[in-house]
């Protein structure tokens, strides 16, 4: 091993050990010194992990790799444990087995035999791990894919299709009072009749041209092509807008992390 990395690692380690020692000193009154040392450790460790991830911006490095691998391992296990306790222990066991319920100290509800179906399908899924029974796992997959496809078919047809169409059917005049009224009260204000007319018309036109852009089986030529081009323009305005709109949220996430580093860890900001 070269000397450079060792020196850097040692320096970083020293830095965070010092941080640990300093952070362990500021224990709230009434708590034992052991608690303070533990809290100091956790805070320092969190700060280390935060900086390790941020170091990725410069380039891939051992600290990032450490944090990344730790994160993957811990998170996979976290989800597993959570799923086990909240689903199997809380929902399944009290319905299929009195012994298991007692073992995990949850209240037994009653025998509900259809609850045997999911563990059986689950075991079928696990058959993948055996060299011969792999094909059985497809039964479970087929069940999941089939139910969800069937579940989504009418539901998305409703929320993403029919309801969107019905809300596109906008009236051109928001308050229908005849043309005379329209001309006598003509205004260019944002809440005025004229702007709403233009807006409603553009919404309908934009939706139609957007849909035309997504036509796959017709050549985009002539008037059809022009509509499709207008459609893609509207899409691009939207994409730019979404991007510009998002910057804010992303910056605030960064502020959150910096607040952690500057305030919770280094204690620079007060209040």
């Amino acid at each position: 091993m070269r000397k450079g990395p060792i020196i850097i690692t040692a320096a970083v380690a020293l830095f965070f050990v010092i941080s640990w020692i300093i952070k362990s000193g500021g224990a709230p009154e009434g708590s034992s010194s052991y608690d303070a040392i533990a809290e100091g450790f956790w805070l320092t460790f969190a700060a280390f992990l935060t900086l390790a991830i941020l170091s990725f911006l410069y380039k891939d490095n051992p600290f990032y790799k450490f944090a990344e691998h730790l994160y993957v391992g811990v998170s996979a296990a976290y989800w597993m444990s959570l799923g086990f306790w909240t689903t199997l222990v809380a929902n399944l066991f009290p319905r299929i087995s009195m012994t298991l319920s007692e073992w995990f100290q949850v209240e037994f509800i009653s025998y509900q035999y259809h609850f045997w179906v999911p563990p059986i399908l689950g075991v079928l899924l696990l058959m993948r791990l055996s060299p011969k029974g792999g094909w059985l796992s497809r039964w479970a997959l087929a069940f999941i894919v089939g139910t969800t496809a069937g579940l989504n078919l009418p539901r998305f047809l409703r929320s993403d299709f029919i309801e969107q169409i019905s809300s596109t059917m906008l009236p051109i005049l928001v308050n229908w009072q005849g043309f005379g009224d329209f001309f006598t009260n003509f205004s260019l204000s944002a809440s005025g009749q004229f702007v709403s007319i233009v807006s409603n018309f553009l919404v309908v036109l934009g939706v139609l041209c957007g849909i035309i852009y997504f036509f796959f089986s017709k050549e985009h030529k002539g008037a059809f092509g022009a509509a499709s081009r207008f459609g893609i323009w509207v899409l691009m305005v939207t994409f730019g807008a979404s991007f510009g709109y998002t910057v804010m949220g992303r910056i605030s996430l960064l502020v959150g992390r910096l607040t952690f580093l500057l305030d919770d860890w280094l204690g620079i900001i007060s209040g």
């Binding site: 929902n91 804010m248 996430l253 992390r257 910096l258 500057l262």
Partner: protein
């Protein structure tokens, strides 16, 4: 190669460094920024103000710690408003990383309401936290049938039937509305399942990135209010008269946005200069 061309080829790491510097400086130095309030935020505030004490509100905290910085101000300002008014709050957290964080927020808010209004908020009578179950879409559907279906017990595994405020509370029919604060796509489930299938009035607080995409649902009436990101939270804080983190954060936003715009301009100037010379970028 002139100055601008070299700037337009700037290594991305300089972009990162300058951005980080601006954020740190604006976080550390204090100054004020004005705020405008939009009608889609006001309608949520008005809805909450119209509720009588004792009415039920379902507060869905569906974000996870990743978007905590952006979403917490909304949760705090709305939950404080609700508890201070004496509304009863049913809380769920349908993001796998969320429940721990949501519980922490709940306890903090219960304390802060007591501190500011002197009102004692009692868990189980004024607020109940149901916790998390996987597969949000399914849980949302199931709650529309009966809260007890996905949540036989609350977060602390107390049976719902033995929690005083849940007596007679079956499903969405028993709450005035759902205020959803989320950073995940679970909002689609709430819209198409909770509002679509069970017709419960729904308002959403979303991350800034998501908000722009939910205006169609606002117009079609599937949601009655919308708060987007830190700006939305700052607007709400202004309405509720509780200046908090969101209003402070706005000054950081203003300056970082200007830096990014500056980078875009530099990139384009360099691009045009080199194109006029026939070079390529």
């Amino acid at each position: 190669m002139n100055f601008f061309e070299r700037l337009s080829l700037l290594d991305r790491r300089w972009v990162y460094l300058i951005l980080a510097a601006v954020v740190v400086i604006t976080v550390l130095i204090e100054f004020d920024t004005p705020i405008r309030v939009n009608p889609e935020v006001r309608s949520i505030y008005d809805f909450m103000e119209e509720q009588q004490p004792g009415s039920y509100i379902h507060l869905a905290i569906d974000y996870d710690p990743g978007s905590l910085a952006e979403m917490h101000p909304m949760t705090y300002v709305i939950m404080e408003q609700a508890l201070a008014k004496g509304l009863k709050v049913i809380m769920t957290a349908l993001s796998p990383n969320g429940p721990g964080m949501a519980e922490q927020a709940m306890l903090e808010i219960m304390d802060s309401v007591k501190l500011h209004t002197g009102k004692e908020v009692i868990y189980g009578e004024d607020i109940v936290f149901l916790g998390y179950k996987p597969y949000p879409g399914i849980v949302i559907l199931a709650m529309g049938q009966n809260y007890r279906l996905p949540f036989p017990g609350d977060y602390y595994n107390t049976s719902l039937d033995s929690i005083p405020m849940m007596e007679g509370i079956i499903n969405y029919d028993n709450v005035e509305g759902v205020i959803l604060i989320t950073g995940t796509s679970g909002v689609d489930f709430w819209i198409s399942y909770a509002n679509g299938r069970y017709n419960v009035p729904l308002a959403v607080g979303l991350t800034g990135v998501m908000a722009a995409d939910y205006y169609p649902y606002l117009k079609s009436g599937q949601i009655f209010g919308l708060m987007g990101g830190m700006l939305g939270a700052a607007e709400y804080e202004k309405l509720a008269g509780r200046p908090g983190r969101a209003m402070e954060a706005m000054r950081v936003q203003v300056w970082t946005h200007m830096v990014i715009i500056l980078f875009i301009l530099i990139g384009n100037i360099g691009y045009f200069i080199s194109r006029r010379r026939g070079g390529s970028v």
